[in-house]
Each structure stands twice: as structure tokens, then as C-alpha cells.
Symmetry: C2
């Protein structure tokens, strides 16, 4: 199928974003939730900032106080045997290498606004900045779903307590109402469906499992978007395939006459992130009707292959012009944001060919 | 404080339980949820059975088909380099030692019934036996909470999909209604409060975290017991203390004039399980008013110190005679069930002395 990447890609890079914190640099403006509001396209960007490092033997970890927005910086010597610094994004304890102890950057959500959807102007202030004790390490990867006249924004809240999924609602993208943690830790990649199905709200989520199980997509139902239950396993990783290591829902499901089209990311054991699709039954979204055998989109362009974390296309949202035209915004290489136009009909054809 | 252990302890041992599966042996009858029904004390025991092993070089893993109740036995040679057999309860993949791949026994729930609460007769048939794809490795550690005239039974469902928490309801302990998975994997140790508080149901749960965070107790709210949200961190492990490694709610919270008394288990890094208590605010159970500095109960008796997994007292339920008298039933050494009488007033005094 055809992916029409914007010729302007990447459309937003870290250089376009002024740091919010003095003494910090922006290392990522990526993985944006997307909303259409007031005739504009809004990108709810995940902005990652880190303390400027002048001494390469020191690793700095920012931790924010949600009440004062003051940041405490913990300094680690790379000589410190107790910790592991192999992955530039995190600090791990040597005795707990399967987990991680701290993040080397602080993420929050800032809005970029555009009339045409290609050239964006970026708000000076964050829209969502860590506001409670579950967010002292940051806020990551927002997704936006409009239901009736309300925008539901969920995102990952990270703190020493765990990695949980929070929900806020807004009608104006200026203020918001906190709806609390909707999925207990450890969880990620939550997207809400844009309407009730047979009287219930639905969401896809991606538990992070320790003992048994894989990085699979689950589905849950809710009477009110705040309380979730009847969790069911929806789609698993596929050993030997492009999505063998981890998968997670990306964009708000798109309603079509054939079913719900869910664009999701999948990663290989080498952490190469591609995009695939699921087709779910319109009346019963716990039923998978079709799934991409091969990805419909892979990292191909230089800006998708090289960055803070290489080989990543990671769609979190889209605008829809008509029944067929989807404009997907996607994070590239954990660094910048790119855009592309996709035909929904072509995705359905791709899904049907996948069987 | 005084723990009056039954002189008959342990009151139920694996030898008392006839295997449900031909060719299997019962290795545990422990961790029982407790209900008072029709003038009787019911213990909803976790019964663990394993295939009788005649060849010590083979490790057998039972996996049940929930539709037919047929069991497939996977045989592992202890020479197999791909797997690790150090812990007799599980089989681990060598490349994923922090997790586990299979269980060496199959657990389900069977009821023991008693008029006096000391001598029990055991049902021949299971009450809860794996009935869906989330339970192919078994059902573990049930807890029972009576709300109005309905008994809510939650338990851990284990399968290759993960370790999740399911809920069923019953009014007669003969049939039950499945309420689905209420807490997505990975989670354990869920207890429901016995009544609504300010219009909402509450439950304690214990997420199992991979990346960041500890084995801590969280609290969630629900409009209907089926859908849960507003997850909040309630109490954490305490490094250097008896509950430094993991904690989890044990018994249904007991309402007192001072607050909700929650008896919980805590384990040290050496996996020695003791029992402590939390006091939660009556009107706002997310507020911790007091917590045991030292455990109120430790493994002391031989049957608590030696068994399938040594040094464990693990309370999952109790009956209550009056405002002060609690009879706690508790799993010992992951093998058998014991009972003891506790004064609620003494627990409150113990909590107040803990500050």
C-alpha cells in the first residue's frame, strides 16, 4: 500500500522546541496525540528534556516535585558499580537489570497548533506537566479520543511507584479535569474507542508483565471511561515476525463499514518499530477479524532510521478528512514528529490480503 | 499481642484431601478464602495437585483444557539447558529467569465445610475449577467478601497470557456467576471491602511490576464491583523491615470504630512471610492511619516453618464472632491450613503502639 510521507518531514524536531527548563535541552519532540479542535490540528507532543551535561563522566537524572515544579537532579558517576548506564534513556540498578530505576530525561505534554496540518506553532507552556506523585519521572505518549464534545487524553505516568496510565478530559485544551489512574501499573499504550459500543466504552491497553506472558494488546470495557473491567486478551506478539517482541495500540480506532481499524506498533527483538493494523468486529471489538501479516509501514527514511533511538515509526494519532483519508502523525526515532497520508480503504485491502 | 493458635493445627493438610485427578497427588491445601454461610464456616481452599513423578530426572508440568478439563502433561528433562528447575514450584526459561514459564502443579478451589470451625469435611468436587483460557495453569488464592446477600470471590487466574485477577459471585456456593477479569495482569492479592463507602466499592490490590516500582499495595474504587479505576498507591514495602520485599492484603477489611483494619502479609528478602496490619480511615480508605511496625504474627510453629515453601503464615480470611473476636484461617508453609483466634481490640492497640 501507499504511504504518502510529507515532503516536509520531519515536521517538528527538538530544535523547534524551546526548553521549558533553564539549563535543560530538548532531546525529543515525538509520539504526539492528535486532536482536531476549532479548525486546527493539535499535536499533543511528548517533549523530553534533559539537564545539559558538561561532564561526560556524570549521568544526570531529573525528578520533579509536582507541587512546585522544582526539579531535583540526581548525579550518578558512570564509575558507580551499583548502576548500569548502557541505555542512554535510563539508569538501571545492576541487581535489577530487567527493570529500570530512573529516567535520564523528563517528559511532559506540549501542544503544537496548525491550520493546515503541516506547519505548526508550538505553545510556550506545557499543557500537561507532572501534577501528582505518580508523575515525578514524567508524562509520556499521550493519545486523544474525542467522544461527543469531550476530548479524552490518556498518557503514561511514571514515578518510583510504577508506570501507570492516567486519564484527563478537556473541552478547550487550556484547562483539564483529572480522572485519575485508569489502568494500574504496569501498563502503557492505551487508546479509547471514539463511541460507546452496545452501551459500554472500550479501550485497548498493553500490560507490561513480569512473571508470565508477553507484551500483548488487551481490551477492557467501562460504563463511564473512569472505571475499567472485563479485561480480555486481544492480540499477541508473533515469534519470528516483525511484531515478535512487543505490540501496542497506536491510534484511536477508526470506524469503517468493515469494522474497527486499529493501527498499532510492533517491535522485533532488535527493537525495530513498524506499524501494522488490526480489524475488529464493529459490534464486538473483542473479536479480531484480520491482522497485518507484514507491516504496512516500516522505518525507511533517514529521519525514521536515525535519532535518539534508531529505527522507529510510532503512530499515536491522526486526523481524518473523509471516509478514506487519514493523516497520521508519528514519532520517528524517539526524536521528532513526521506526517503521512494513508488511504483507509488501502489499509482494509491490506488487511484482507493478510487474511 | 496474643495469637491463640488452635491446638488442632494444622486443621487441614494435603493428606486430608483426595486428589481430583487420577495419577496426581495433592501437595497443598492452603491459602483459603473464608465465608460464613448457612450456619457453617466454609473454607474455599486453594488445592494444588501435581502429577505423581516416578522418574526424578523428569519435571512434569500440567496444563488444563478449560472446556474438557483434560490435562496435558509437558515433560521436561532436568538436563534441559534451556530451562531452570531450581524452584520446585516453577519452570523458568534460562533466558528469562526473572519470570517463570510454567507451574509444576495445578491449583483450583475446593470447599471445606464445618459447623464448629475446627473440624472440616471436604467436598469431593472442586467449586472453582479452571473454566476459561486465562486459567489453563490454574486458579490461586481466593478471597471472599460478603456484600449484602452476595458473596464476591476473587482469585488469581494463571495462564500463558499472564497472572490476572478474576471475580465470581455466588449466593449458594454451588453455582457461581463469572464477572470477568477485574484487574489486568500482572496483579494478585485482591480483597474487596464489605460495603460501599460514600457510594463506591473499594478493593485493595497488589500489582506485580516489571520496570519501576515495588510489590506494594494499591487501592481502587468501583461503581459496581466489575469495573475499577482511580487506582492509588496505598502502602509500600519497607527496606530493612520484615515487609521489605513484598506485601499484599490478606483478609477482607474489618470495620471498627477506629477505622478499617486490614490484615496483610509481608515478606522479607529471604521470603519469610509474616502478618501485619494497616488501619485505614473509615470514610476515606485511601488514608493510612497506622501500620504495624513489627508483625503481629510470625512463623513459629513447626507446621508454619516447614513444608513445601518454608516460613510462611498467609492469612486469606476469617470469621467474626462479635466486635472483638476474629478467627483467622491461614495458609502455612504453602502446604496446609491452620486457625487462630485474635482480638480485634488487641490489633488496634498493636497498631496504635506502632504509631
Amino acid at each position: 500500500m501507499t504511504i504518502k510521507r510529507f515532503k516536509e518531514n520531519p515536521i517538528i524536531t527538538p530544535e523547534d522546541v524551546k526548553p521549558y527548563h533553564e539549563g535543560f535541552e530538548v532531546i525529543g519532540a515525538f509520539n504526539a496525540g492528535v486532536a482536531e479542535y476549532n479548525g486546527e490540528t493539535l499535536l499533543l507532543m511528548r517533549v523530553a528534556e534533559r539537564p545539559i551535561v558538561d561532564d561526560p563522566s556524570i549521568v544526570k537524572v531529573p525528578v520533579v516535585d509536582p507541587e512546585t515544579r522544582e526539579i531535583t537532579i540526581k548525579n550518578f558517576s558512570i564509575e558507580d558499580d551499583e548502576y548500569n548506564f548502557d541505555d542512554p534513556r535510563v539508569v538501571r540498578r545492576q541487581d535489577k537489570l530487567e527493570g529500570l530505576s530512573y529516567l535520564t530525561s523528563l517528559s511532559y505534554v506540549r501542544i503544537a497548533r496548525s491550520k493546515g496540518g503541516i506547519e505548526f506553532s508550538i505553545d510556550d507552556e506545557p499543557f500537561l506537566y507532572p501534577y501528582n506523585d505518580y508523575q515525578t519521572f514524567g508524562i509520556e505518549d499521550p493519545r486523544v479520543t474525542k467522544i461527543d464534545d469531550t476530548y479524552y487524553i490518556d498518557f503514561t505516568s511514571v514515578s518510583e511507584k510504577g508506570v501507570a496510565v492516567s486519564l484527563v478530559t478537556t473541552k478547550d485544551f487550556e484547562s483539564f479535569t483529572d480522572q485519575g489512574i485508569i489502568f494500574a501499573p504496569e501498563n502503557k499504550d492505551v487508546v479509547l474507542f471514539p463511541e460507546k459500543i452496545n452501551g459500554l466504552y472500550y479501550a485497548l491497553h498493553r500490560p507490561v508483565l513480569k512473571s508470565i506472558g508477553n507484551y500483548d494488546i488487551w481490551i477492557a470495557e467501562s460504563p463511564d471511561t473512569k472505571h475499567w473491567g472485563n479485561h480480555q486478551h486481544l492480540a499477541g506478539v508473533r515469534e519470528g515476525n516483525w511484531d515478535e517482541e512487543r505490540i501496542g495500540a497506536g491510534l484511536t480506532p477508526v470506524k469503517t463499514s468493515e469494522g474497527w481499524v486499529v493501527l498499532y506498533h510492533g517491535a522485533s527483538h532488535q527493537s525495530r518499530y513498524c506499524m501494522g493494523a488490526l480489524l475488529l468486529d464493529l459490534e464486538d471489538p473483542t473479536r479480531v477479524l484480520a491482522r497485518s501479516e507484514a507491516p504496512f509501514m516500516e522505518p525507511e527514511e533517514d529521519y525514521e532510521k536515525n535519532g535518539f533511538f534508531n529505527e522507529v515509526v510510532f503512530g499515536c494519532g491522526a486526523t481524518q478528512k473523509d471516509d478514506d483519508s487519514l493523516t497520521m502523525y508519528y514519532g520517528v526515532a524517539d526524536t521528532s514528529i513526521a506526517g503521512c497520508d494513508i488511504s483507509i480503504q488501502e489499509i482494509i485491502t491490506h488487511l484482507k490480503e493478510s487474511k
